[in-house]
C-alpha cells in the first residue's frame, strides 16, 4: 500500500534474547518511569478548592453590561445575533417608556435576550459585533446542568448585577 504520510515503519518479528526473555530489566525500567513521576509537579488540581488561572483571552459565560449609571447598554440591534455562527442568540426588542430612562440607555432595549448555551461555541464574535459595548464573554464558566432548558440563559442570568465593577474582565463573581 502506498503510504500517504511516509511515516510508517515495517515491523519485523525478531527472536528475543535471553535477557529479554527474563522480562525483569524491562519491568524495572517501567517502574523507574512511574517512580520518577512521583517527584514531578502534579498536572491535576484539587478543584474546586484550587482553581486554575485563566488565560487573559479566556472566553466564558456572557454578560450584558450596564453603564456607569447602571443602565443597560444593549439596544437590541441584533448585530450579535446576526454575527453568531451558531445562531445561539434570540432577541426581542421593546421601546423604552417614559420614566424608564434610568433602566435603559437607549430608546430601544432588549425585552428578552436569550443565549442558548448548548449552541454557543464561545467564539466571541458577538462581543466583537456589539456596537454598544453591551455583550462580553467573562471568565466565568457556563455551569453544567441535567436539564436542557437550563441552558437557555435569559436576561436574569446574563445582565450584569447592579453595583458590580464596570470592566468586563474584572467581573469574576466566583472570586469575590
Amino acid at each position: 500500500m502506498y503510504s500517504l504520510s511516509k511515516k510508517s515503519k515495517v515491523v519485523v518479528k525478531k527472536e528475543m534474547t535471553w535477557s529479554e526473555k527474563l522480562y525483569l530489566p524491562a519491568i524495572f525500567q517501567g517502574l523507574m518511569i512511574t517512580i520518577r513521576h512521583f517527584f514531578k509537579k502534579k498536572a491535576t488540581l484539587q478543584y474546586p478548592e484550587q482553581k486554575k488561572e485563566f488565560a487573559a483571552v479566556y472566553r466564558g459565560k456572557h454578560i450584558l453590561k450596564r453603564d456607569e449609571q447602571g443602565r443597560e447598554n444593549c439596544t437590541a440591534c441584533g448585530l450579535c445575533a446576526v454575527s453568531c455562527p451558531a445562531e445561539a442568540i434570540t432577541i426581542v426588542a421593546a421601546e423604552r417608556q417614559k420614566g424608564e430612562e434610568h433602566l435603559y440607555r437607549e430608546e430601544k432595549y432588549a425585552a428578552s435576550y436569550e443565549i442558548n448555551m448548548l449552541r454557543c461555541i464561545f467564539c466571541g464574535l458577538c462581543e466583537e459585533a456589539c456596537p454598544k459595548d453591551a455583550v462580553y464573554l467573562t471568565e466565568e464558566l457556563a455551569p453544567a446542568s441535567f436539564d436542557r432548558t437550563d441552558f437557555i440563559f435569559g436576561k436574569d442570568k446574563l445582565v450584569q448585577p447592579l453595583g458590580t465593577s464596570a470592566h468586563p474582565k474584572t467581573y469574576k463573581p466566583y472570586k469575590k
Binding site: 439596544t75 437590541a76 440591534c77 441584533g78 448585530l79 445575533a81 446576526v82 426588542a93 421593546a94 421601546e95 437607549e106 430608546e107 430601544k108 456596537p131 454598544k132
Partner: protein
C-alpha cells in the same frame, strides 16, 4: 441621439437624458450613487450632490471640460460628452466630502434605527465615506414626530432630499407636507403636525432613503435582516396590490412596495395594503423576493441564480487625512 462615454463605456441615449440615467442604461460599477434623485418623482434630484461626476469633454462641438464637478442626476448629456465617475480620483474625493457633510448632523443611531440594513446612507458611507468623523460640535436634534398614527418622523436622521415632499405633491392636490425653515434649521413638516390624510401617504416611508420616515406598525418589531421578504399580491381596489411582505415565521411584520434595482418603488401601494393587511390569509404569496443588495440585508436570504458581489471599498478605512 447623443453618444456619451462614461468611464470608457460608450453608450447612445436620447437627447435630454441625464448623465445618471445614461449611466444606469449602461449599468455596472459606473452608475453614480444617488440619494435624492428618484426616477418616479418629477423634479427630484440636485439636492444631495452624491451623484457628482467629472465631465472631461463637454461635447463633440465644444470639447472643453466643464470647470466644476456636476450633479449627474440633473445634467443632460450632449453628443460626444466624456464623463468620468469612478476613474476620476477627484470625484471620489469629492464624494467622500459629500458623505461627510451628509453625516454631519446625522445621529449615527443605526443600532436603534429601523432602516438599518436597507439604508442608502449606510451603504453610501460604507462604500465612500471615511471611517472616522471629524465633526466635534453639537449635532442638531429634533423631537420625534408622529405624522398620523402610522408614520414616524425622526427629523434628526433626515438628509433633506425632498423625496417625501415630491411624493406628497404627487399624490395630493393640496400641499400637505414640506420643508419648513432654512439651512441648519430646515425640517420636514406637515402643517402643524396634521396627519397626511391620503390613501397613499405611506409611500413616503418607501421613498425615504434613510430612517427619517419609518413605519410605526413595524417599529422595533425586528431587524430587516431577520425578516424574509416575499413577493405577494392581493386584489386591491385602490392600488396595484403587488407588494413585498416581510415575514418572520408565519407572521407578516410589514408590507412595502416592490422596488427596482435602484431601490425605487415600481408601483405605489395604498395604506390599506401597507398598514392593515398583516394576515397571511390576506395575501397571495408568490415566492421569495430576489435580493440583489450586498449589505447585511441579503443575509440568510434566497437568491435566484445571482451572485452577490461584495462592495468595492473606495476609500473606506482611510483615516490618515
Amino acid at each position: 441621439m447623443a453618444k456619451v462615454t462614461i468611464d470608457g463605456v460608450e453608450i447612445e441615449v436620447e437627447d435630454g437624458t441625464t448623465i445618471l440615467n445614461a449611466a444606469r442604461k449602461a449599468g455596472g460599477d459606473i452608475v453614480p450613487p444617488a440619494m435624492c434623485y428618484y426616477s418616479k418623482l418629477k423634479g427630484s434630484g440636485g439636492k444631495c450632490r452624491t451623484c457628482l461626476v467629472k465631465v472631461s469633454a463637454g461635447s463633440a462641438k465644444d470639447p472643453r471640460p466643464m470647470p466644476k464637478l456636476v450633479a449627474s442626476c440633473s445634467t443632460p448629456v450632449q453628443d460626444g460628452m466624456v464623463v468620468q465617475n469612478i476613474t476620476s480620483p477627484e470625484v471620489l474625493e469629492a464624494r467622500k466630502g459629500v458623505v461627510e457633510f451628509l453625516l454631519i448632523n446625522h445621529p449615527l443611531d443605526c443600532p436603534i434605527c429601523d432602516q438599518a440594513g436597507e439604508c442608502h446612507l449606510q451603504d453610501l458611507a460604507f462604500e465612500h465615506g471615511r471611517a472616522k468623523t471629524r465633526y466635534e460640535e453639537e449635532r442638531r436634534t429634533f423631537d420625534r414626530i408622529d405624522i398620523g398614527d402610522k408614520i414616524q418622523l425622526h427629523m434628526t436622521r433626515c438628509i433633506l432630499c425632498y423625496r417625501c415632499v415630491f411624493t406628497c405633491d404627487q399624490i395630493t392636490d393640496k400641499r400637505v407636507h414640506g420643508v419648513l425653515n432654512r439651512g441648519d434649521a430646515a425640517e420636514i413638516g406637515t402643517y402643524i403636525q396634521k396627519a397626511v390624510e391620503n390613501d397613499f401617504s405611506g409611500n413616503v416611508i418607501d421613498v425615504c432613503p434613510v430612517g427619517a420616515l419609518t413605519d410605526k406598525t413595524f417599529r422595533f418589531k425586528s431587524r430587516v435582516w431577520f425578516v424574509k421578504p416575499m413577493d405577494a399580491q392581493r386584489d386591491c381596489t385602490k392600488c396595484c396590490g403587488k407588494t413585498i411582505v416581510w415575514m418572520y415565521g408565519n407572521e407578516i411584520f410589514r408590507v412595502t412596495a416592490r422596488k427596482n434595482k435602484y431601490d425605487e418603488v415600481i408601483d405605489w401601494i395604498c395604506n390599506d395594503c401597507r398598514f392593515e393587511k398583516k394576515n397571511v390569509s390576506d395575501w397571495n404569496i408568490e415566492g421569495p423576493t430576489k435580493i440583489e443588495r450586498h449589505s447585511v440585508i441579503s443575509h440568510n436570504k434566497y437568491q435566484i441564480g445571482t451572485k452577490v458581489n461584495a462592495p468595492k471599498k473606495i476609500g473606506y478605512g482611510n483615516i490618515t487625512n
